[in-house]
Symmetry: C2
Subunit: 227 residues, 2 copies
């Protein structure tokens, strides 16, 4: 474990986590990673068989870390009511996203994958299953009718996870045409708004909602509140 060779291996993985989380898989180069790890470029191929293999290890480390470190206590989450669960879900993730720590990096890597999915990740998904999806399912099920179809369930999960992406790079808000100043206050405010919007949005899935607003051409549902 503590052999010098393992040290190099670990250094490479740590450096890869930092680089891939910041620039994505395509954007991060092996030269940058090996330089950050004080290792030789050939080390990646020696230890991992190539850039893909290194990334695969990073993904494995990510799910492991999520299982161990995530402050998302699934049992506590399961006991919450829907709105509180959503809020906890969001606040945990937003906090992780904007901290410089390991968990934030892992979350960023997964979010990169939702933006531009790599073949490595696709293969990875085929063998392992991400706890993230389980957590998301737990949350959305609090809002969906028990007899919801599989398609709708996945749509809701997909949508919930995509809400996180919105804030993967909040610095976008700092540039034109938004020109907002990103500080902790704004992040908190963002979390408030996002959480409230998500609760309201997910509530539309309930079968007994007056929120189920349809367009004019669709089959008329009884409750058409208009604006």
């Amino acid at each position: 474990m503590s052999r010098p060779a393992d040290l190099t291996r670990d250094n490479l993985i740590q450096a890869a986590i930092a680089v891939f989380s910041a620039k994505g898989f395509e954007g991060g180069s092996v030269r940058e990673i090996t330089h950050a790890a004080n290792a030789n470029q050939a080390a990646i191929n020696y230890h991992f068989g190539g850039k893909d293999g290194l990334y695969h290890e990073v993904l494995k480390a990510s799910v492991r870390a999520f299982a161990e470190l995530s402050p998302l206590d699934v049992d506590r989450l399961a006991a919450m009511k829907g709105p509180q669960a959503v809020d906890t879900f969001f606040r945990t993730q937003l906090k992780a996203l904007n901290r410089r720590d390991q968990l934030g990096r892992f979350l960023r890597i997964f979010t990169w994958e939702t933006l531009a999915r790599t073949q490595v990740f696709t293969d990875f998904l085929a063998t392992e299953n991400l706890p993230m999806f389980g957590v998301a399912e737990l949350v959305v099920r609090k809002f969906l009718p028990p007899d919801t179809e599989r398609t709708d369930l996945w749509i809701a999960i997909f949508w919930l996870l995509s809400q996180i992406e919105t804030f993967i790079r909040p610095e976008r808000l700092e540039r034109p045409p938004y020109n907002l100043k990103i500080d902790q206050k704004l992040i908190d405010h963002l979390a408030d708004r996002l959480s409230a919007m998500t609760v309201a949005a997910l509530s539309t899935w309930g079968s007994d909602r007056a929120w189920d607003q349809r367009r004019s051409g669709s089959p008329a549902s009884q409750a058409a509140p208009s604006s």
Copy 2:
């Protein structure tokens, strides 16, 4: 206008629209574009001064096309009530996204920019203003209190536009772990759900909503988020 040189120029722009919309600015190579346009590689530098210049022309063509071709009739939109405006907004964009036509490509290009913003686009934004933002502002203002702060207004616009991104590449839903079959029926269903969720989410911004669900720890404010 119809000189052979202009033909090459137009072919290059058309090919660039196709390539950049499919692969983004970074991912699309000049070799691929020139090959698709039956032009020489040097033509891009001759006519546009480089890849950046070509992309700039593509962006200009995009906003022009949006102004001319977009079925989003701003006046009609302005006359609608909030929910109907949201629904129209979504349905128009989702339809464009999933058609193979020019407008869908332009929309895709803009969405690429929200995922990975280029310097060209940043500079472009500094000089021109996108009608897209105006339309989004029109829609969200139907839900926001009249005295909404500039920050909140931009957050709402940012969020609304980001909802579109969710479906920029619906093929993601076809792969694990979702494994959904994307057909017209699903697209329609998606539009229904997304529209309903967005209406509900935007409605949380109103000061008179019971939807403004807060987490336990936050200052209990029944009304506007303030912060």
